[in-house]
């Protein structure tokens, strides 16, 4: 039983970590786009 549970935990943890990593990448990119947009607006006002 222990071996089976360990294998299932490893697979699900691996998949969740990958999705979490993708979500973090996506959030970082969205923040960068927002900062860039603000910089463009600021430059437009100058």
């Amino acid at each position: 039983m222990g071996f089976m549970v360990a294998a299932y935990l490893v697979v699900w943890a691996g998949l969740f970590l990958y999705v979490f990593w993708l979500a973090r990448k996506s959030r970082k990119l969205a923040e960068e786009v927002k900062a860039l947009r603000e910089a463009i607006v600021r430059r437009g006002h100058e």
Partner: protein, 235 residues
């Protein structure tokens, strides 16, 4: 093109993958019988084999994407190959993680230098090297070109892994289904149906992850270009 279609279907695919994964887990827990000799650890089979199948599929896509990139010089094929390589390494890691757990339960050893195990480890090293190469190349064009060559050459290991159990004596059993497989595999029908369901679920999961990863990678590349351009205009 495949990547455009995947992006269009990504929500539907993600929903289908989630439902199929839940069904597969239920089938493994409630429907598939417990194998007489190995007991419960045999159920690792329904994770290990689909992970290996997806790993092969991902590296096959890397091969196709790399050939198309070198031929057409279209960066979309390079993005496709890169994302498949990343997912291939993820599923190869899962294969290398679940294998030893199953091995310890049935063979009494976490690892042996069995031909299939060794060749799978080599495959993981090749495509991890591919990702490192992509991250450390001098230019994007160079990274894509070198990556494509490695993506094509590295794929030679995949048929070796598949046929290693037939060509060399090792601990791994012969394939139960597919090319070179034993007819019917001697598998109980409930085991076979559970395996097929798990294979479909893992394939849907892989395609939905690919549908998420490709637009993200493209956005990353575009952002890198914008960053480079803004540095250039400031100087």
């Amino acid at each position: 093109m495949i990547s455009r279609a995947l992006e269009g279907w990504s929500r539907g695919l993600a929903a289908a993958a989630a439902v199929l994964m839940v069904l597969a887990v239920l089938a493994v827990a409630l429907y598939a019988p417990i194998e007489r000799e190995q007991g419960l650890p045999q159920k690792i089979f329904y994770l290990h084999v689909p992970s290996a199948w997806v790993m092969f599929l991902a590296f096959f896509f890397v091969f196709i994407g790399s050939v198309r990139y070198l031929w057409k010089k279209d960066p979309a094929w390079d993005t496709f190959a890169y994302c498949c390589a990343e997912l291939g390494v993820l599923f190869c890691t899962l294969v290398l993680a679940t294998g030893p757990v199953w091995g310890k339960a049935t063979w009494g050893a976490w690892w042996t230098w069995d031909p299939r195990l060794t060749l799978t480890l080599i495959l993981w090293l090749i495509y991890s090297g591919y990702l490192i190469l992509r991250a450390s190349a001098a230019s994007e064009e160079q990274a894509a070109r070198f990556g494509a060559v490695l993506g094509i050459v590295g794929f030679a290991d995949v048929p070796l892994i598949h046929f290693s159990v037939l060509w060399w004596r090792g601990m791994h059993p012969a394939p139960v289904i597919g090319l070179g497989g034993v007819q019917g595999g001697g598998l109980h029908p409930a085991m076979l149906y559970t395996l097929l369901l798990s294979l479909v679920a893992f394939t849907a999961l892989f395609l939905s992850l690919l549908g998420l990863r490709i637009p993200l990678r493209r956005a990353e590349m575009e952002m890198r270009d914008v960053r480079r351009l803004s540095t250039f205009t400031q100087t």
